[in-house]
Symmetry: C2
Subunit: 459 residues, 2 copies
């Protein structure tokens, strides 16, 4: 008798689980169908890219983006939409940037450059000096102050092409851009020219943030990126004549901080409203392109999560909050301020998901989680297999949500295919036409599905 | 004592296996590194796309492509390079194709169209008729001969956007193009206009093969593709005025078959030279673009397999043969002739791999294999995991190698990411600039690695 009851219980229970699994499969299918046939992400991104455009923190366009994001979230009829006050750095590119390789008396070749974000300008007449080409800081140090003094340092270490995940190749080379000026200034260089962090040979200079660290103002030197083709050309010219001169003129400037905002919207949970599930990207972008991949894609995908829940009439158990972060690119003030404020307000975040790796075909998610939490996440993988989004790994998740880390919250980043990303990253060609509608939508659907499962099961 | 010897044997043996596994990992890493840093595929494709261009069977350009392929294979210093004679259909687009929606007396709107491959021309003055819009053959049949007679049939079934594998969506809609004219002609239609098989709304008409089957010559009617934007416009116009007229003028023509060639090259195996491992793609393309994705990518990836083996000094055990097939697009004469000839010559093919799904990031391979064979293949999956090429499935493999099927040979097709493919497929925008170098190279490396493992283990 006991055995029979036990067996019946098992059958009932497994049917229940089976029913639930089928339900999740069905709901996730609905999410994907909706995203691919009636989603808003692509139209939103069209507007953000083409009607607003590049939106560097502290710029007029960044504030237009805040206004737009706020209004779009209001139009979704969320339970709560508000702005979070932050102060952001203000750096402006100015009205010109220009460089040439001076190959002989009266002879020069123009090369595409752009100022690195945070750099100071050159003198108004520009800067003319000889060039020391190096691959890394070790080589620079070995050359030493005597030979570096009074010259440009030209960092020309290419992204390694044989790494499959191009973000790994980025990590291998980004130090030239971020602290190259500081290192070179300490050896008496007058400026730095940095090879663009781009796997392709082309004519786009790629900007990005740099820092002088604790260098005094008078020690600071101008820093510019040169296109990969320009870097190849300069290197080739230097191999013929190491005494050639380089000329750089740029007009950028740092201003005092200005006020800006994170844009926040949420659907209140009906069972555990105090448990918050966050999804977000960053609303600011660099100023050269229109920031379609970095990170317009992440913004509209994050907004789409809430939109899709509304469209399929899904009432979450937990509170689903979207955060359009300001100032990821050159300060991370949005991410830091948000994390500080929720701590002060004792808000309980159980999960945060960021999309900031481009709007390409999603391949999976990276997580920061305990062993136990990750085990639970891995059990959800089969739901993503029909959509070919099956690479769940522990690893890098995203800058904006990183400050939320407290040992309990699970953090995650969407991992799209990375092969094309660094052709566009921080360059003038990061524009809406480089976005594929379906790839963008698949990413939004993947994110919505993951958030749905977190909402169903919690941590 | 026995136990000790046994244990030692086990240890030696497992070390041996472990050594072999490590060796394979190392060799595959070398293949990927080589492809991504010193590969030839991208430069080859640049030439094939930009210096030769579209190469429809029977055209002058197709023969230029044959000559080029032959020379490039000769330059690789293979053991054997030769041409295989075939006869191919010759269809030419002619000097004009043109269409408009006539909305009223003296009022018309031009729409982008292209003749479908194999279609007859319109009368020299063009064809003017009313339009019946249908979604499928069932709807056409239900409308019936009386209403269809004397009109254009407009097939307007869009690719379903909610299928993740876009080749599935292609399968759902391609019948409109391939046999739509035959079906409509039987009901007395004067011509057919087919919505381009494209997931995106744009202005490119997509051509492709069509067949009149056993329709007599006088029963045949002209068939053209209309761009997706054009289809939306026409449908919208028809909803306002179902009596509007459509005007089509095209100048295409079928000629008698002409001679052409498959281009073949091979590295002889040094252990089992009689066991042939084939890799290939198709050298012909449609005439509108330059066929960079369809199938220039497959051609250069297949050539790259042999080139990489040469570059890393890998001497295969079995014979590795590359076949640049002619006439996949409108006749499959290359694939059929090749299969016939090897049967006559009693050649033993153990494996054939085709790349004909675009030069996008590789996601895995599809196989036609027995259970036992597939089990062996699946055991190789871990080698591909570091490259994120881990989807090994049973399924569609490729048209050119399909005639080789004999129940013993294992057939395989490279499966790249499919999201963007049908934006370019058979259209004027299938050009070299739509190719990403790394994505192309990763596909070539994946193919080389699979062929390497087949060569190591056989079937």
């Amino acid at each position: 008798m006991r055995l029979i009851i036990f067996t019946i219980l098992i059958i009932l229970n497994s049917q229940n689980i089976f029913g639930q699994i089928k339900g999740h499969e069905k709901n996730i299918k609905m999410i994907f169908n909706q995203a691919l046939t009636k989603g808003k992400s692509y139209k939103w991104l069209d507007h953000l890219s083409n009607q607003i455009g590049g939106r560097l923190s502290g710029s007029f366009n960044a504030e237009r983006a805040v206004k737009w994001g706020n209004q779009e979230l209001l139009d979704l009829n969320l339970d709560n939409v508000y702005l979070e006050n932050i102060m952001v750095p203000k750096w402006v590119r100015g009205t010109f940037e220009y460089a040439s390789i001076i190959t002989g008396p009266g002879m020069s070749i123009n090369v595409p450059v752009c100022a690195l974000g945070g750099s100071i300008s050159t003198p108004a007449v520009g800067l003319r000096a000889q060039v020391i080409e190096v691959k890394d800081f070790e080589e620079l140090e070995s050359i030493g102050e005597k030979k570096v003094k009074g010259k440009f340092v030209f960092y020309n270490r290419a992204m390694p092409a044989d790494l499959i995940d191009t973000f790994e190749a980025y990590k291998e080379t980004v130090d030239q851009r971020s602290i190259g000026a500081k290192k070179a200034a300490r050896l008496g260089a007058v400026g730095v020219i940095v090879r663009s962090i781009n796997l392709r040979l082309d004519d786009y200079p790629h900007t990005g943030n740099m820092s002088y660290g604790n260098l005094s103002n008078k020690m600071r030197i101008p820093a510019a990126a040169i296109s990969t083709n320009g870097a190849e050309l300069l290197s080739s010219m230097l191999s013929l004549n190491k005494n050639l001169y380089f000329y750089l003129k740029q007009d950028c400037k740092n201003y005092p901080d200005v006020p800006s905002h994170n844009v926040i919207g949420e659907i209140k949970g009906n069972e555990f409203p105090e448990e918050i599930i966050l999804v977000g990207g960053h609303l600011d972008s660099w100023d050269l392109g229109d920031g379609a991949h970095d990170d317009g894609a992440g913004i509209v995908q994050s907004m789409e999560v809430l939109n899709l829940f509304k469209q399929i009439n899904y009432q979450p158990k937990r509170t689903i909050r979207v955060v359009l972060y300001m100032n990821e690119e050159n300060g991370l003030r949005g991410g830091k301020t948000y994390a500080k404020n929720i701590k002060q307000n004792n808000e309980n975040h159980i999960f945060a998901l960021e999309s900031d790796a481009g709007g390409f075909t999603p391949r999976g998610f990276a997580f920061e989680a305990t062993k136990e939490q990750f085990k639970k996440i891995i059990s959800w993988k089969p739901y993503f297999d029909p959509y070919m989004i099956d690479r769940f790994t522990l690893g890098v998740i995203g800058s904006d949500i990183a400050p939320l880390k407290d040992g309990k919250i699970v953090l995650s980043g969407l991992r799209p295919d990375s092969q094309r990303y660094f052709e566009y990253h921080h360059a003038a060609n990061d524009t809406f036409d480089a976005i594929n509608k379906r790839e963008l939508e698949l990413g939004a659907a993947a994110m919505t599905s993951l958030i749905y499962l977190v909402d169903q099961y919690g941590f």
